[in-house]
């Protein structure tokens, strides 16, 4: 029961969506299954939040190392959750002014919008921007032009980086037919044009092969899961 039930549900859920794609009569089943999937995915967020709360409350209770930061996590989590669920500072929608809860929870000026605007956005954007330093640092340490492959990788990255900047374009702007008519045959060597060629030819070819490979891999993995060959998601007991 602990294993067979989930296996049957997995197979039924997956094959309904596959069959629904090919049979117009069954397309509603597919749409229904997709909505159910969305609902369970949203509930999974609640599960994730609950688990986060449980973990950090335990750290606080155990006075584990750095428990103060767990306190910050719990306070910021509960505050955001409260103002979002209760719609603090949200005016009713202009269409239904007599319904107090009819306003959008992300309405400008609301407490949830405030946290999104002044905490979530700056924190996530800065966290990702920090990667600029680490990518550059890692590249400096790891990239060495030791063989043809490394030279190709480095050279392409260099051309792409330069070709998309003002300085890069200015560097090869002298390859201009107005300067010398013979340059008309060499305008393809200008950095901005080289960037376009690399992206439209080699990058397209490589990405297509990678996408074909990924698609085949996903199809194989999905079939293994649906047919019950891969049961790792069920755990051991």
């Amino acid at each position: 029961m602990k294993q067979t039930g989930p296996l049957l549900i997995t197979a039924a859920g997956g094959f309904v969506l596959i069959v629904a794609y090919f049979i117009p009569f069954a397309q509603n089943w597919g749409e229904l299954a997709a909505i159910w999937f969305d609902i369970l995915a949203a509930v999974a967020f609640i599960l994730g939040g609950g688990n986060l709360l449980k973990t950090h409350l335990k750290r606080i209770s155990d006075r584990a190392r750095g428990w103060g930061y767990s306190g910050v996590v719990v306070v910021s989590f509960l505050a955001t959750l409260f103002v979002g669920l209760v719609k603090v500072g949200v005016n009713p929608s202009a269409q239904f002014p007599d319904f107090a809860w009819s306003g959008q929870y992300r309405q400008m000026g609301s407490a949830f919008w405030y946290l999104f605007q002044y905490a979530f956005t700056p924190l996530t954007a800065t966290m990702f921007s920090l990667l600029a330093f680490y990518i550059a640092s890692a590249a400096f340490r790891a990239f060495r032009a030791k063989n043809v492959e490394a030279v190709l990788l480095l050279g392409t990255a260099f051309i792409i980086l330069l070709g998309r900047t003002f300085a890069g374009v200015a560097l090869t702007s002298w390859i201009d037919p107005d300067v010398w008519a013979g340059f008309a045959y060499f305008t393809g060597l200008r950095l901005e044009n080289l960037t376009v060629y690399i992206m439209s030819v080699f990058n397209t070819a490589g990405n297509r092969a990678i996408m074909i490979g990924i698609a085949l891999g996903i199809v194989a993995t999905s079939l293994k899961v649906l047919l019950g060959i891969d049961r790792s998601y069920l755990g051991k007991d």
């Binding site: 997995t10 159910w36 999937f37 994730g48 269409q95 990667l131 190709l152 392409t156 092969a209 990678i210």
Partner: protein
């Protein structure tokens, strides 16, 4: 106290003092947010739209008693908080420190709750509660719910049961109960992905790769476009040969696979270049936030030009 800590502490104090001085005792000022009161629903309440310092100064100059444009203390505090979070995250470049850890903890807490709230209002309320008990949702949060969407669907009780089973994972015992909804999630994900990748990636990419190797445009052979198409077709085939591990990569197969590696290296180089560009763009946006929105040291969009004119800053 270690000398390094003393140095950083002194730097922080000097920085904070400079900010306070600039904020309070200079004509330029910094880090203030202004709003414009906009009446909504026939004036039953007002909505505070963002306004610039220039607009505020312009309105004050025109009518000193005006109330449309106002200084906003909550949003100003928010701006300073955002600046603090930005600097706290950047401080990690010098090493792990309490400011970074606090900012990281806030990020974890806020983002977990943010996605929960979105899931609740965008999915659970309309798609689950609204299907099981539409009258409640109509009277409560979605008065516009009508038509077939407002009809009760008893089949959604199954999803409700699966949802409760999924949340059972938080209980100390009976964690296996959560496997059933988890199995549904995994099964539907597998089904959706299988179809989507077969149709959207596998077939489409193959179809797009079947290109004319000799392009004739208006009766004239186009050598450049033909070469481009040839390179794309050969490039894709070489990469696929490299991905094919049923043969040993020796001889002709090895040479083709080698060419495939070269194409892949160019692809990875381009991806790397674009990733670096994207991150640097994000970094520039954050620096612009600090220098423009917070410190008011630059004004690329002229948001405070009216303020300078009114205050005589340009004179």
């Amino acid at each position: 106290m270690r000398r390094e800590n003393v140095f950083w502490m002194a730097l922080l104090v000097i920085g904070a003092a400079a900010l306070l001085w600039r904020s309070a005792f200079t004509t330029e000022g910094m880090g203030r947010e202004y709003v414009r009161a906009v009446p909504v629903a026939n004036g039953r309440w007002t909505q505070s739209d963002p306004a610039t310092y220039g607009e505020y100064q312009g309105a004050e100059a025109a009518l000193p008693a005006q109330t449309e444009y106002q200084f906003s203390l909550p949003r100003t505090i928010g701006l300073w908080l955002a600046a603090f979070f930005t600097l706290a995250i950047f401080s990690f470049l010098f090493g792990d420190n309490p400011f970074y850890k606090v900012a990281e903890a806030v990020l974890v807490g806020v983002s977990a709750a943010y996605w929960m709230v979105i899931g609740f209002w965008d999915v659970i309320v309309p798609n689950l509660v609204g299907k099981i008990w539409p009258a409640l949702v109509r009277a409560w949060a979605m008065p516009g719910l009508s038509g077939p969407e407002a009809e009760p669907s008893p089949s959604y009780i199954v999803v409700l049961v699966l949802s409760v089973m999924l949340l059972w994972r938080l209980a100390p015992k009976g964690g296996w109960i959560a496997r059933w909804p988890l199995a549904f999630i995994i099964g539907t994900t597998a089904g959706l992905r299988l179809i989507a990748f077969l149709h959207g990636d596998f077939l489409v990419q193959i179809r797009n790769t079947i290109l004319p190797l000799a392009v004739i445009d208006g009766g004239v052979f186009d050598p450049w476009l033909s070469l481009q198409n040839l390179l794309i077709v050969v490039g894709v085939l070489c990469c696929l040969v490299y991905f094919f591990f049923s043969f040993e990569h020796q001889g002709a197969v090895g040479a083709t696979a080698k060419a495939g590696i070269w194409v892949l290296m160019i692809t990875f180089g381009a991806a790397f270049g674009y990733t670096v560009m994207g991150r640097i763009a994000l970094l520039a946006i954050r620096l612009e936030f600090l220098l423009d929105d917070w410190l008011w040291l630059i004004d690329p969009t002229g948001r405070r030009v009216a303020a300078l004119l009114a205050g005589g800053g340009l004179g």
